[in-house]
Symmetry: D2
Subunit: 149 residues, 4 copies
């Protein structure tokens, strides 16, 4: 995990994030981009809830997957792309809070497969509370125009 | 999986779904509620995309989790509630299409733990295409006011 | 999923299975090899148990992974190999019975990634009981001598 | 995660581990028992391999599940029991080495659901190599004679 300069992935991730309709819809912003670790945050909003008024599990998955995916972007060549193969999410506490933070980290870089782990936190009056975790697997794509398969 | 009358779960699911901020935001509607099987659908929208213009994996997870969760509601007592413990999603094809359908089915009912499986399809000009699958685990809650843990 | 003749994968799977130390240790045998579906079976043995005298979850995973992996072998070229990237197992009922059957099926074939689903059953006096399910992801390897990564 | 004395869980785990047929078959031993963390180890053996001569994914799952399960035993009451609901394993490097270590840790204790994470390492001539990770979910059982469901 060496040989990457800050500029290589920073601008790429900022631009890519800005092009995501889903992140705009959710109201998310990138709050940290560093080598192997990316964080996104968004405030609680009624439109993000499930039937009990807490954060929808799919929105939690969206936050975790996005943070994990961009963490993986920090360890690939700038001409490579990533395809999410699969992820698993464990819900640990109800998604209640005024704000939520999702951190993605690279657990295992690789030339073909990258494994990432993410954690989601609810931020309110007290200490941040762990609400969910993710393990995700991505495939590195090179010299292919898209996700044609 | 006997002893449930249609009305028991049908109205409950319709009302619960209507109270979800996230489903309204995504533009989803319930299109099938039967014993052990629930389907939801929504049209493609630019606001649901990731950086490549295809459906965001988190939105796919939201569709699958919602369909699976309500499928589980069809096999529990009407005074019980459900808590999603975890789920795993496999992405199989890019989420491209004019419309998407997510079907949740109960694989293993139980008094404490319910296992569901879901599949997501992209619907366009040709045949529906399998884009993702989910296996999810929920815990049945009884006589508890909420998700206090 | 066309173009494969029975002999292409049948002999390959039989030979590969026979070379597995773990399958011999467990006492497993291949009981079905067909296009997209493979089954293995083994009898209950005290040496396969966890602390409560039921089948160890890891042995269940071994049965499911093996069946799923060989199911995937039926849909790849004969000069390609497979690498298990990840799998998820749900335990549904205790592994009690005189005999166990594990069936792996290809859910999504692909030139790079293959997704399989498996189910495990306990066989005793009554009807077979579903004890576990798996979803697994494998990567197709071509022109590489091994799993060097 | 307070209020547990060493003796509470230490003897219980040692006795439970000793009663596992599968751990004896694999040749595993408990090498660490502390609050929230348990490790097991075993040497490479030809009988533990898959067709390429490396550690079988099911044996890796057995090591991870056992370490994670006993880690969870360190944070429950001594009259409670645990049922593995599900786990997910990511394979990161081939299981080659002279010895293998599996560490399970409690990520989220709870009165009903406990989430654990595990990592497996191959130990050879050089530094230990990460070969696999697990996230697992267990249910706490109280006042029930067994796993009757």
């Amino acid at each position: 995990m060496t040989g990457y300069e800050h500029g290589d992935f920073h601008a790429r991730i900022v631009n890519s994030f800005a092009s995501q309709g889903a992140m705009a819809m959710i109201g998310a912003e990138l709050t940290r981009i560093s080598h192997g670790v990316v964080e996104i945050e968004f405030p609680f909003d009624r439109k993000l809830t499930q039937q009990h008024g807490i954060l929808h599990a799919g929105i939690i998955a969206a936050g975790l997957d996005t943070a994990c995916n961009y963490a993986a972007y920090t360890v690939i060549d700038t001409d490579a792309a990533l395809l999410t193969i699969e992820f698993k999410v464990n819900m640990m506490s109800p998604g209640r809070g005024s704000r939520f933070l999702f951190r993605g980290e690279v657990t295992k870089p690789g030339s073909n497969i990258i494994v990432t782990d993410g954690r989601g936190y609810a931020i309110g009056d007290g200490p941040a509370k762990l609400i969910a975790s993710m393990t995700g697997t991505s495939m590195v794509l090179r010299g292919r125009e898209g996700f044609e398969e």
